[in-house]
């Protein structure tokens, strides 16, 4: 059988009509990327797989909820899938924090960069800041984002790639909570303007 040339957007539209084979293709094309994302936030273990399972069931049920354009801006299907997985992973992380009755991660449970150690993984995981640098280079906004102070970028990277809260970022960076909040906010503003300048989302 020739490979299916339909775009991810088309496959999601077909899944919304109840076409399970198209949904299977959505899984095939996206699950390693989305599992990487869930594992990044939750670390190795069953939890990331549980989150991914819930996410795909929700994608199947709500496939008709995907909006291909918002206010004239094209929204990639991958963006929508990433948001679903990330939200579920962050919910799981918050639940874990509540169960531990402590919102703060144990200092020794984190590596130097605030990444939960992944037992059994051969290659060391890149740090949050390395991931942010990789992403800004791929998006051609590295120059623009580098105008930000290093601590601003570091705090944004920890919040995005590790799912850390303001308090957790402050603890990890040994910086006052108020400063961290301002840094992250400035980081987000900068990201918005850099992407807009690049011709992306305004």
């Amino acid at each position: 059988m020739p490979p299916d040339t339909r775009t991810l957007e088309m496959l999601i539209a077909a899944a919304a009509q109840g076409d399970h084979a198209s949904f299977a293709l959505v899984y095939q094309r996206t699950h390693t990327h989305l599992f990487g994302l869930a594992m990044r936030i939750l670390g190795q273990g069953q939890e990331a797989e549980d989150v991914l399972q819930e996410a795909y069931v929700s994608i199947w049920k709500n496939a008709s909820g995907y909006r291909s354009a918002v206010d004239g801006q094209t929204i990639q299907a991958m963006t929508w899938l990433i948001a679903i997985v990330r939200n579920k992973a962050l919910d799981a992380l918050r639940l874990r924090a509540r169960r531990k009755e402590s919102a703060l991660p144990e200092p020794d449970a984190l590596s130097d960069d605030g990444i939960p150690e992944l037992p059994g993984s051969a290659a060391p995981s890149p740090s949050a800041l390395q991931l942010l640098e990789g992403a800004t280079q791929a998006l051609h906004i590295a120059g623009c984002m580098n105008a930000l102070d290093g601590s601003h970028r570091q705090s944004l990277a920890l919040a995005y790639y590790q799912g850390l809260s303001h308090t957790e970022v402050a603890t990890h960076m040994g910086a006052p909570l108020g400063s961290v909040k301002a840094w992250i906010r400035r980081g987000l503003d900068k990201l918005k303007s850099c992407l807009a300048a690049q011709g992306g989302l305004s």
Partner: protein, 247 residues
Amino acid sequence: MKYTHPALLDHLASAYVLGTLGGGARRRFERLLHDRSDVRMQVALWEARLGQLAVSIPERSPSPRLWSAIEARTRPGPAPAVTGAVAPGLRWLKPAGFGFGCFALGVLALGVLFVSAPALFISSDQLAMRSGEKLPQSYVGLLTDAQGQGKLLVSSLRHGKTLTVKVIGPITPPAGGRLVLWALPASGAALALGAVPSSGTAISVLPDTSEKLLSQVSKLQVTLETDGAPAHPSGTVVFSGNCAKLW
């Protein structure tokens, strides 16, 4: 807190998507997200911005069992092997069994409705809508091509400022120019309602409520325009249809 200021909403949407909006503020924002389409749009735009940062995260493979688990929870109907396993002599049972299943489901649904009935009847339109008894007051339009094939479903809440355009039939993206949706009032100038997506569903903000913009509109059409922002329809009419009030 007032949620009318666009800059504040943008800030809250960014923190919500990033995940740093916590506790009570997060719950309040989620309520807002449920009720307001403009807030949902802000969130969708932030998801699109922040989603791009995921590009650098290394891919990982979950266990092969994961797909089986997802498949078991999503595959519609009984698995083919199970259906085929019914002995020929017992085939007559199947429709009856199915019928009974439907009946039991109906009884169950009715029971649930009775239990929840007090909650349904004390309230207004909104609860009736949520329970699926009633559609919200909206303007809707169905556009077809020259052969009468359904192509677009257009809808907007009567007092809302958001327009939803859903592609319901395959649309071939035009080689040159773009497809523009127009509202044609009984008298007066046509109003551009925005570009038409080639697949999926698009939402956009209207300059005013649809009650103000569409109350005198009975026809909708899509034209192929070469100009970036045409003031009035000048290209070929590709799709057309009626606009109706859903109340």
